[in-house]
């Protein structure tokens, strides 16, 4: 399903990046990093209309030739990025949304671990499993 899942801290450094294959990890580093610009743009534009509950799901950030990049921002400005292959047409918005919800839930569970210091890179096994399950579906 997803070919790359990334969790990015509020300060825009990666907390967790997992690509389905190790070979093109560098590529996804660049892709995800570049997508931060779009995320920031989207957050800023959304932030203007006052205090109504902001939608966490940012939708399609940008399509590239081979991939589609989707974004999601938690209220604490933790960013989730999911990259899927463009050829995968079975994935619709709702599926992506549910993936993000799952990811968010996994992240929150991971954060509940009292030994995890927020801001450190994520090394939780169960979180990794969540991510890997999203990639394998």
């Amino acid at each position: 399903m997803a070919v790359c899942v990334a969790v990015i801290a509020k300060e825009n450094y990666p907390l967790y990046i997992k690509a389905s294959t190790a070979d093109n990890e560098l590529k996804f580093y660049y892709t995800v990093h570049s997508s931060l610009d779009v995320i920031e743009e989207k957050i800023n534009s959304a932030g203007k209309n006052a205090n109504d509950q902001r939608e966490l799901y940012l939708g399609l950030l940008y399509p590239t030739e081979d991939y589609k990049v989707y974004g999601y921002v938690t209220n604490t400005k933790i960013k989730f990025v999911i990259v899927v292959e463009s050829s995968n047409t079975t994935l619709r918005d709702t599926e992506i949304r549910s993936m993000f919800r799952k990811l968010h839930q996994g992240y929150v569970d991971m954060l509940c671990n009292p030994f995890y210091i927020p801001g450190e890179s994520v090394s939780s096994k169960s979180f990794s499993e969540t991510v890997i399950s999203m990639m394998q579906q």
Binding site: E11, P14, Y29, H33, L36, D37, N44
Partner: protein, 1473 residues
């Protein structure tokens, strides 16, 4: 898009300016060459009109022409072939480099949390753009680049100027008609012809010129003729005059790059592509070069410049991975050959090597004349010509318009084609070919002309119309061109235009160019203009998209430049898209690399690095660093390259192992090159070694050990363990205590004022405020932890410690600091003499490994030694070079021997790394708590002192396992291995109970543990035992008190196994001093720590009971005797194939006491005293009082009770000593050192109850020790049997209770709760223990046990009983004997015995006085006569009387004495017998 010098408007206007061809005669050209310029070049700076001009459009509306620019083209100029064009572009880009001081130029931009240094200007892009537009091949679909006019130039010095002009004109005519494809192309058949006569003011005659001019005017018409007078200054004058006026030509001439063959532009960008191929680079390069040269030579000759699409890319663009070393080098080579041929012809490039300025012969008035010439030409000739042309074209078209409109309009209606939709039609087969003067082309021609002369509104309308036509005809190329120009005309009208800028026109134009026409150059041109237009309107995003769209594979240089512009667009967006900027910069850098533009590539990557750096995007950062490193390396900036590669190694990298290996090798290779280069440059190797990033040192874990490594045990000898790195850190407290004790004892019982415990092992948990002390000629060992952050192994070879040494020499001149860091061999030798350092040949550090490395230094002089670093050769671990069989051996530290090849074959760099230790965090003062401050740590700053004696202690036969209580003899040998005699040898131990050190004489005795005597008779010995002699510290006697160099002393040492089974650790600390007084430190210490495993053997329980005296028995058992029964149990278990005790044989029981001796109960000899496993032996003994004369406080009598024929001397060494040690209650080890326990001073002095009632207590105080000497047969695991001997002690303190040999473990008491309220100190009346009070007096009854009585004669039988009372205490006591039953009244306790008594009283009763009170003196034995009456026969226990004792006179304080054994009387009836 970056900021450009030109505005968008200017740029477009320049890009599309009216072109005019120039044809000069040779003589005119020569005239101009005096100025170092060709004619076109001469006039070029003045081609822009400075004044406004007027033009009428076809509708006769007057327009103002602003700053009209005219492009002049030399007709002879060879139009650049695609290859040449490519080369030119490359050169221009190469030449436009950012200035070196980028910091000063770039402006700092803060975006979010990024601080970026950007250089907003990109002159190389502008230069490229200009060259690109110049060299773009013309196309049939547009007329913008077609020459509108031709200027014919002759000089006045020509003999036949008019004829020459005609010839020139004809040449032009001929070219236009015969070679329509030859460049330049002409706008229309009847172009404007303009005739110019150049007149040299100095050389030629003015009159002749004037005449020729007049005749020119008459033959060509005065409108199209001009006399241009130049060169007012003679060439000779030029040389003398000052030439400081500005050179207007400079900026227009193509700079001839002198350095273009230099390092920064050559095609061999691939040199870093293949690892390891560096040494072969040169040969490979030349090979390729040769081949490609040949290939391209052919290719070059055969390519005829026909069509733009036949462009340079006969050379395929290579893939991403291998850089285009081959093609770019090839193309470069062929280009330069083209170049050289061109320079020969001298038409395009100005000649090389010319240092002269331009326009030297032109005065200011000459320049004005040129300006006037251009103005005249434009206003008088060109503009009117254009007006005329437009008018005719317009009329032509208007006449056709009506007809066309009807046809096209209806056709459209009928077919309803959606062909109007632009660009989307995938009809690639452009079949439409317009004839030269097709109306559609005429339309286009008109539009172009209007556009060139700034009639934008008109142009737009015309383009729009043309666009529709082309669309209908599916003439896609024409269509795209029209779209492009339509959109540009709108843009050029500026903001006052009513129309919005139709960027979708441009969009579809580009798409059409690209997709339908495959005409990339035009697409690029459209992009260039379009993006310029977009950015001038702030539409950065769209501009960026257009740039990215052009990122084709065709030209890497172009792609790189466009991507860079796109990146600039992203950063200019609001809000800026920093990351996209970075990403596109990387892409651009990549393309620059591919096109061989190394400097630009490097710049791009560096720009991007600013954004990726330090943000945790490791992979990306690594990638950039790696690329940057390579680029630096290619540009021979080795220092920067090294720094970039270093980044890859220092950070804990997430790269996979092979990648890291590549990084490491690259780094090593580059670094090595750098070092070699430095050596070449300076001619010398630098004095200081470079610092290396690998491996990481865990500096703070560094440990320093002074002193030699303890010897390993061999044979039956073990050596004192000393101090080594594997010592447990926590045990140092014990050692410190022992040391304190030793120093106290050596110092007469007090600690010296400046005492501080010495230490030999310094780590980060020790107090390192003071310098460690080393001694001359004694090794200092440093343990350093090497950490490899990489996943691949690295190899360190020739590892050495770096140190600096400040000798303390007793001379007046300042000592010189010596270090071993210098590479000069001479100095190094000197350094080696002072401090000898160990060199570790090879260390292989596996990936992610943490390895301790121990290295020693031996100083040979006194002074201050500071260890500050580690030097080594760093190499990658070449697994491929190693034979597979060496795999397991090479793990960890290996001294290179077998696999020396592993480091020989790899590249390595010599460098160093510093060890910096950090002291403990300070937390004392306020500022220390607030900030982070660290104390000093001097563990690496050693002070080397003069030589000291070195004690070596060895033990022979030191057992590892002992039975509990086993006594073992060990010989201990003290040797002085130092060169100075030692004295005052002392020994301290944590547990002195379990060993006895004998004197050297004892060694001469037979090797038995115990001394044996066969004299069985005299079985007691009277020996002085000083309990105080047992201390933690003991002195060791050495003959003469001094142990000289290399001499040794052997002493016996008996060890006894601990009474408790298990593993016991005994720490021994030896103390000694040098024989002559030395400065601080005065003494030295040697540690020995030993672990003894004790196995359960025997357990002894003993109880002493007061002997009961019977009238019938013999005399000598008095009331004071005790019967002692011992239970000896063999606790060991037989375990097969493991060592176990087979049986224990009790050899002897001895008694040691001040008052008591032992005797056997029976006289028969018992020899069967063997106890098997888990068997119990009961032995009963009798104790007897010794004569009073022996009663002295420190005198003990040992009585032996052997079970075999021989007697072991229990009073001899070591039996006596061990016994003594078992008696001594050593104060807890911790307490001994505290001189004044704080509790002693507080509170009122308490009366110790033990002391207060000593006289009473001695009543039950037995103080008798039984020593059980045994012999055990032990079977060890090998099945061999050995006999070992041992002893157990049972101390019977008081009668009637059990004592065991097994020491009771005292459980730590729980602390009482802390009370905060003051407690009332109730002054308790101290009473002696109840146990004591009830046993003050013992009593027995003496009577007949059998009484025959005839109850028929007398009803009552009377029996006399003697009650024997003995006062056990040493005080006067009052005794009350109560025979009545009234005892219950006195006694509060109604015990069970009393009940029984009550029941049994029916048969007998005491007669006579019921109560008797007597007073007894200490130890007095008193007899009282009582009588008892029996009323019937039976068996009676008459012991029912009560004895009350009071040690005071107060009768109410009487205490009932403990009931002793029953006294049984059998009363028989005589009558019944």
């Amino acid at each position: 898009m970056a900021q450009h010098k030109q505005t968008a408007h200017d740029f477009i206007q320049c890009a599309f300016s009216p072109q005019v061809a120039v044809l000069t005669s040779n003589d005119a050209e020569q005239l101009c060459q005096k100025n170092n310029l060709s004619f076109t070049q001469l006039v070029q700076p003045f081609c822009r009109l400075t004044t406004e001009a007027q033009i009428k459009d076809p509708n006769n509306v007057l327009h103002t022409l602003q700053r009209l620019r005219i492009g002049m083209i030399d007709m002879n100029c060879q139009v650049s072939t695609p290859l040449v064009a490519k080369k030119m572009m490359n050169d221009t880009v190469t030449n436009e480099q950012p200035q070196i001081h980028e910091g000063s130029r770039g402006n700092v931009m803060t975006v979010g949390d990024y601080d970026l240094q950007l250089s907003s200007a990109t002159p190389w892009f502008e230069a490229y753009r200009d060259v690109f537009l110049q060299t773009i091949p013309p196309s049939e679909h547009e007329f913008l680049k077609h020459c509108l006019a031709c200027i014919f130039v002759v000089s006045s010095s020509h003999p036949e100027p008019l004829a020459m002009l005609h010839t020139l004109s004809n040449t032009q005519q001929q070219q236009q008609s015969q070679f329509p494809n030859k460049l330049p192309q002409w706008f229309s058949p009847n172009i404007l012809k303009y005739y110019v006569l150049v007149h040299d003011m100095v050389e030629a005659e003015a009159a002749k010129a004037e005449a020729v001019y007049q005749s020119m005017k008459s033959s060509f018409g005065h409108q199209s003729c001009h006399l241009l007078q130049i060169n007012s200054r003679s060439v000779t004058a030029v040389e003398t005059t000052d030439t400081s006026f500005p050179d207007p030509w400079g900026q227009f001439l193509h700079k001839t790059p002198d350095n273009m063959e230099g390092v920064d532009y050559d095609g061999s960008a691939s040199s870093g592509a293949e690892e390891g191929s560096f040494p072969n680079k040169v040969e490979e390069g030349t090979e390729k070069h040769a081949i490609n040269d040949g290939l391209n030579g052919i290719g070059n000759n055969s390519t005829v410049i026909d069509h733009p699409l036949a462009l340079s890319d006969s050379l395929p663009s290579p893939g991403f991975e291998d850089y285009p070393s081959l093609p770019s080098k090839g193309s470069h080579m062929s280009l330069s050959s083209v170049q050289s041929s061109m320079t020969k012809s001298g038409s395009f490039h100005s000649e090389k090597g010319r240092v002269m300025g331009h326009g030297m012969c032109l005065t200011a008035s000459d320049q004005d004349r040129i300006r006037i010439f251009i103005h005249e030409f434009s206003v008088r000739a060109l503009i009117p010509w254009a007006e005329r042309q437009m008018r005719t074209l317009n009329e032509l078209l208007m006449s056709r318009a009506g007809f066309r409109k009807s046809i096209v309009g209806t056709a459209k209606k009928w077919f309803g084609g959606n062909t109007n939709k632009t660009g989307q039609v995938a009809n690639t087969a452009t079949t439409v070919v317009y004839s030269k003067d097709a109306p559609e082309l005429q339309m286009r021609r008109l539009a172009d002309l209007a556009f060139l002369f700034q009639l934008y509104e008109f142009a737009y309308n015309t383009y729009h119309t043309a666009k529709r036509d082309f669309n209908n005809d599916h003439a896609w190329l024409h269509f795209a061109g029209a779209l492009e120009m339509a959109s540009l005309s709108t843009f050029m009208q500026g903001p006052q235009s009513q129309r919005v800028y139709p960027d979708h026109y441009m969009e579809s134009a580009i798409t059409t160019y690209l997709q339908s026409c495959k005409n990339e150059p035009y697409a690029v041109r459209a992009t260039l203009t379009s993006t310029e237009a977009l950015t001038s309107r702030g539409k950065y995003k769209e501009a960026a998209m257009q740039f990215i769209k052009m990122m084709s594979e065709e030209s890497d240089l172009r792609a790189a430049l466009l991507l860079e512009q796109a990146a600039h667009c992203f950063i200019n967006m609001r809000p800026p898209m920093v990351r996209k900027y970075a990403f596109h910069m990387i892409l651009s850098g990549h393309r620059f690399t591919k096109s061989g533009q190394r400097k630009h590539a490097l710049r791009s990557y560096n720009q991007a690095l600013q954004i990726y750096k330090g943000k945790g995007w490791d992979l990306a950062e690594d990638h950039i660093n790696f690329t940057v490193g390579r680029q630096y390396h290619n540009l021979k900036q080795l220092e920067n390259a090294t720094a970039a590669f270093k980044h890859l190694l220092t950070v804990a990298s997430r790269q996979p192992a092979p990648q890291q290996n590549a990084f490491l090798r690259e780094y090593l290779f580059v670094y090595r090159q750098l070092l070699m280069q430095e050596v070449e440059e300076t001619g010398l190797q630098s004095n200081t070694l470079p610092e290396l990033p690998l491996p990481a040192l865990d500096s703070n874990a560094t440990r320093v050990l002074t002193g030699a490594r303890p010897l390993q045990p061999h044979d039956d000898k073990t050596y004192a363990t000393g101090v080594w790195f594997d010592d447990v850190e926590g045990s140092s407290k014990n050692w410190e205590k022992l040391e304190e004790l030793l120093v106290m004892s050596a110092n007469g019982g007090s600690l010296p004022l400046a005492y501080r415990p010495s230490n030999a092992l310094y780590s980060n948990s020790t107090d390192n405020k003071f310098n460690p002390v080393g001694y001359v000629r004694e090794p200092i060992t440093i343990e350093i932890y090497l950490v490899n952050p990489l996943k691949v192994a690295v190899t360190l070879t020739d590892v050495k410690l770096l140190w600096s040494f400040l000798p303390t020499i007793a001379s007046h001149d300042k000592p010189q600091l010596i270090t071993n860091e210098t590479m000069l061999s001479a100095k190094n030798n000197l350094a080696d003499e002072i401090v000898q350092g160990q060199v570790v040949k090879e260390i292989i550090l596996q990936g992610s490994d943490r390895l301790p490395v121990k290295m020693t230094l031996v100083p040979h002089q006194m002074g201050e030694l500071r260890i500050y670093g580690l030097t080594y050769n760093l190499g990658s671990h070449a697994t491929t070079f190693m034979a597979p069989s060496q795999g397991p051996d090479s793990l960890g530290v290996g001294v290179a021997g077998s696999h020396k090849a592993s480091y020989v074959s790899t590249v390595y760099v010599r460098g160093k790394q510093k060890i910096e230790v950090q002291g403990p965090r300070l937390n004392g003062k306020k500022e220390e708590m607030a900030g982070k401050m660290y104390g000093p740590d001097r563990r690496l700053d050693l002070s080397v002192h003069q030589e000291m004696p070195i004690l070596q202690v060895s033990f022979t036969n030191f057992p590892k396992t002992l039975l509990c209580g086993e006594v073992h003899l060990v010989t201990v040998t003290f040797t002085n291995t130092g060169s100075i005699p030692l004295q005052k040898l002392k020994l301290a131990s944590t547990n002195p109970k379990y060993f006895v050190l004998g004197r050297s004489e004892d060694l001469k005795l037979p090797a038995n543990v115990y001394s044996i005597s066969s004299n069985l008779k005299d079985n007691s010995a009277f020996v002085t035992c000083d309990r105080n002699s047992v201390k933690h510290v003991c002195d060791i006697d050495i003959p003469n008190g001094v142990l000289h160099q290399a001499s040794s002393v052997s002493l016996p040492l008996w060890i006894r196994g601990n009474d408790i089974g298990g593993v016991h650790e005994v720490d021994l600390l030896f103390y000694y001093q040098a024989s002559q007084q030395t400065t601080k430190p005065r003494y030295r210490l040697l540690r020995h720590s030993v672990q003894v495993n004790t196995v359960e053997s025997l357990s002894v329980r003993a109880v002493a009971q007061r002997a009961c005296k019977h009238s019938s028995e013999t005399e000598h058992i008095s009331v004071t005797d005790f019967v002692i029964s011992c239970e000896l149990e063999n606790l060991s278990q037989i375990q097969l194939s493991r060592s176990h005790v087979r049986e224990v044989c009790v050899r002897q029981i001895s008694c040691s006491s001040q008052r008591w001796g032992v005797e056997p109960l029976s006289r028969t000899a018992h020899t069967d005293t063997k106890i098997g496993s888990r068997e119990l032996l009961q032995v009963c003994l009798k104790s007897m009082v010794l004569s009073e004369s022996a009663h002295r406080p420190d005198m003990y009598t040992f009585t032996d009770l052997p079970f075999q024929n021989t007697r072991l001397l229990s009073s001899a060494t070591p039996c006596r000593e061990f016994y003594l040690r078992s008696r001594v209650k050593l104060k807890s080890f911790d307490l001994e050192t505290t001189v004044n326990p704080p509790s002693a001073q507080l509170g009122p002095p308490k009366v110790d109850p033990e002391l207060a009632f000593e006289s009473l207590n001695c009543a039950i105080n037995l103080d008798m020790a039984l020593i059980i000497l045994w012999e055990a047969q032990v079977v060890d695991s090998a099945g061999e049997e050995r006999t070992c001997v041992g002893q157990h002690h049972v101390i019977v303190e008081k009668p009637e209770s059990f004592f065991t040999s097994y020491p009771f473990q005292i459980l730590p008491k729980e602390r009482p709760p802390i009370k905060f309220t003051r407690e009332e100190v109730t002054s308790e009346v101290i009473k002696p223990a109840f146990e004591v009070l009830t046993q003050l007096v013992s009593y027995t009854m003496k009577h007949k046990t059998r009484q025959t009585h005839s109850f028929q004669q007398t009803r009552v039988c009377l029996l006399g009983v003697t009650l024997m009372l003995q006062n056990n205490s040493e005080a006067d006591v009052t005794v009350l004997v109560d025979t009545s039953r009234a005892q219950q009244r006195l006694s509060d306790i109604q015990d069970a015995a009393g009940q029984a008594l009550e029941n049994s009283t029916t048969g007998f009763s005491w007669v006579g006085q019921t109560q008797r009170q007597v007073t007894m003196t200490p130890k007095q034995v008193l007899e009282l006569s009582l009588s008892v009456s029996f009323s019937r026969p039976g068996v009676y226990n008459i012991n029912n009387l009560a004895v009350f004792v009071s040690h005071t006179n107060d009768v109410s304080e009487m205490t009932l004495q403990k009931q002793t054994r029953p006294s049984v009387v059998s009363v028989l009836d005589k009558g019944h017998q």
